[in-house]
Amino acid sequence: MFDIIRRNLKTGQVTVPVTAGGDPEFELVGAELKAKLSRLLNGRSLHVREVDAGSCNGCELEITGLSTPVYDIERFGIHFVASPRHADVLLVTGPVARQMELALRKTYEAAPEPRIVIASGDCALDCGVFAGSYAVYGPVESVIPVDIRIKGCPPPPMSILRALLAAVDRL
């Protein structure tokens, strides 16, 4: 373990080379986000609650990726929380499955105002390929008010970061 730690110290941040393969802009947007958050929330981080309302799990795969060392969005002040009661932002994925509609409503109601809602992914926006199914209630905005929309199937990490920046602007 110490070998790796030593090498990591030598190579600098582990995040750098891999992130560069994705998008150098990630760092820029992240820095902007961090600056805004420290102004707005007095140094507290932005609390995000993820809600899978019927996703295929592709959207979750990318969102969990944001917390890995490669993106490490925690360093910009984004914190994924366990309970909607602590959430500033709800990040909702999937077409709303009929069997999740109630749970989504309850989660929304449990979140404190102003509870910014991000609908993330094509399914959340218009049900994507699942549109028209008997088992699908509708897009996220048919159940709860939506503030920010992210396209993509699934949206790549960069798009999610931008949406979080937009969410901060609404606080």
């Binding site: 891999v18 990726g65 060392p69 999937g94 499955a97 088992a135």
Partner: protein
């Protein structure tokens, strides 16, 4: 279904009263496993149905299906569950989605459909009316199993969980610390994919197949395309078959890396998790460079693949994998030396081999109990027949064994990819299907995803449109294992045990 050994499948139709005995005979063949059971509407006779049981017979590299017609006058069939426990959830699903009664089945409860649907809602029946189902009186509450006794109490968890994971409901009955019983209630992300596919062209249905479970996009797409190709009597060009191996193994790589990281996360071994997740991300980024999509969507199509590897990208993939493997081996060594990790995973969450066999377990979860099955070997598809490899087995059936199987499979994946690249012939990576339209009929397609057997049973009508698509995900086969694995364990170990299976909710619920 084409009764042709060259397709690796055979099927027979028997009278309904001989269905159970025929299945019993099949189930007694060596290493036989019930892979799935599916019902369908009879296309010629409204109100009549058919049921089919599909067995995997690895000794003969054969999927053998037995079907029987069910008349409109008596919508029922004899349940196989008392004899073959693996039939349990399949038959419950047939009951709820088609309204056919498996007579003698010990559990009359629905599986995926929740109380919000009125009783008598059977979405896959041809005469299903979604508007009526939406406006009807909800069904009575789901009767959970009750475990009673002094000091026994229940802990309900979910559907919405603390982490970024899919929704599902878990109900623990505990006495003091140990879990006596875990009841798993899923279906929350049921999207009606099988019904949605009906009436679509194969190309349209493919985009649904790729979205059954996001992290198995390629495997589900591949299984579906192979079913289409069997119907069309088309074989993709050799280059395509090898490229399918490359992409399928890249999918396994990123998933196994993520799964091993998840286990580290759940024991608080953050350093180990972080290192594995870096490797996973490297694979996802490489997927994007190679194929234009991190989850490998839009690549497999009937007749081949859409993404080719030009000379230089094959070379760079090779060196990428060499460095990935070197880094993996270094991190793996740290895992094995970390007592804080190994103490938690060894002996935890044991699934006995007999249970895995009886429940029809698949994939790494089965192999971790010593059950020798892997579709890449048992039912070779794509180019696996020309790429021999060692099926990775463990004996203990615990979290450590599941982790060890995945770690060993990572190495096999790297080797499979590099050998596939070695053999890559010149030529096209895609061929058209003969005269555009595949023939009417039914065919199976399958793939060994990172979790195990993905099976698609596709029926096309005379217009070349989907008449029925039955999707069996590996998670559907394996969820019941989790209830066994946690028995006698303590609730705080549940997340760890659950993560060691890392099953897909969406794949299960569809």
């Amino acid at each position: 279904m084409a009764d042709d050994r060259s397709t690796g499948t055979e099927s027979v139709t028997v009278p309904l009263d001989r269905l159970a005995s025929t299945c019993r005979a099949l189930s007694r063949q060596p290493r036989a496993r019930l892979a799935c059971a599916a019902a369908e509407n009879d296309p010629r006779c409204p109100g009549a149905f058919a049921v089919h049981y599909v067995f995997s017979l690895p000794e003969r590299s054969l999927y053998s299906s037995v079907g029987a017609p069910i008349p409109a006058s008596a919508p029922s069939f004899a349940s196989l569950t008392p004899l073959l426990p693996a039939a349990n959830l399949h038959e419950r699903e047939i009951r709820e989605f088609f309204g056919l009664t498996p007579v003698g089945h010990p559990d009359p409860r629905p599986n995926l459909l929740h109380e919000l649907w009125p009783e008598g809602t059977h979405p896959l029946r041809r005469d299903f009316d979604p508007a009526a189902a939406r406006s009807g009186q909800p069904a009575p509450d789901y009767p959970f199993q009750r475990v009673q006794g002094e000091g026994v109490f229940e802990i309900p968890v979910g559907p919405v969980h603390a982490g970024i994971i899919e929704p599902g409901h878990f109900r623990f009955s505990v006495a003091g610390e140990p879990i006596i019983n875990l009841e798993i209630r899923l279906g929350f992300v049921h999207k009606g994919i099988e019904k949605l596919a009906e009436g679509r062209t194969p190309a349209e249905a493919l985009s649904l197949a790729e979205r059954v479970s996001g992290d198995a996009s390629f495997s589900h797409g591949l299984a579906f395309c192979q079913a289409v190709e069997r119907l069309a009597g088309a074989e993709p060009p050799p280059r395509a078959l090898l490229l399918r191996v490359v992409f399928a193994e890249l999918e396994r790589l990123y998933n196994h890396l993520g799964d091993i990281a998840g286990i580290a996360t759940d024991v608080g071994f953050a350093f180990g998790a972080a290192q594995m997740l870096i490797l996973r991300e490297r694979v996802l980024q490489r997927n994007r460079e190679l194929a234009g999509h991190r989850l490998l969507r839009g690549i497999v199509v009937p007749g081949g693949v859409t993404a080719d590897l030009a000379g230089s990208s094959a070379e760079s993939l090779r060196s990428f994998l060499a460095s990935l493997l070197a880094d993996f081996i270094e991190v793996e060594r740290i895992y094995l030396e970390a007592d804080s990790l190994m103490d938690r995973v060894e002996g935890t969450g044991v699934v006995p081999r007999k249970v895995a066999e009886d429940l029809g377990a698949v994939g790494p979860a089965a192999r971790a109990c010593g059950v020798d099955e892997d579709l890449r070997q048992d039912h070779p598809y794509a180019a696996y027949a020309e790429l021999p490899f060692q099926v990775q087995l463990q004996e203990d059936g615990d979290v450590a064994a599941r982790m060890a199987v995945k770690a060993a499979e990572l190495r096999e994946s790297v080797s499979l990819i590099s050998r596939a690249l070695d053999r890559l012939p010149e030529g096209p990576c895609r061929s058209g299907l003969p005269d555009g339209n595949p023939a009417a009929g039914t065919a199976l397609g399958w793939a060994e995803s990172s979790r195990g057997e993905v099976l698609h049973r596709l029926t096309l009508d005379s217009q070349g449109r989907v008449a029925r698509l039955k999707i069996k995900s590996p998670s559907f086969s394996n969820w019941p294992l989790l209830s066994w694995a946690v028995r006698g364990e303590i609730v705080p170990d549940f997340p760890l045990i659950n993560k060691s299976f890392n099953l897909s909710y969406s794949g299960n619920d569809r």
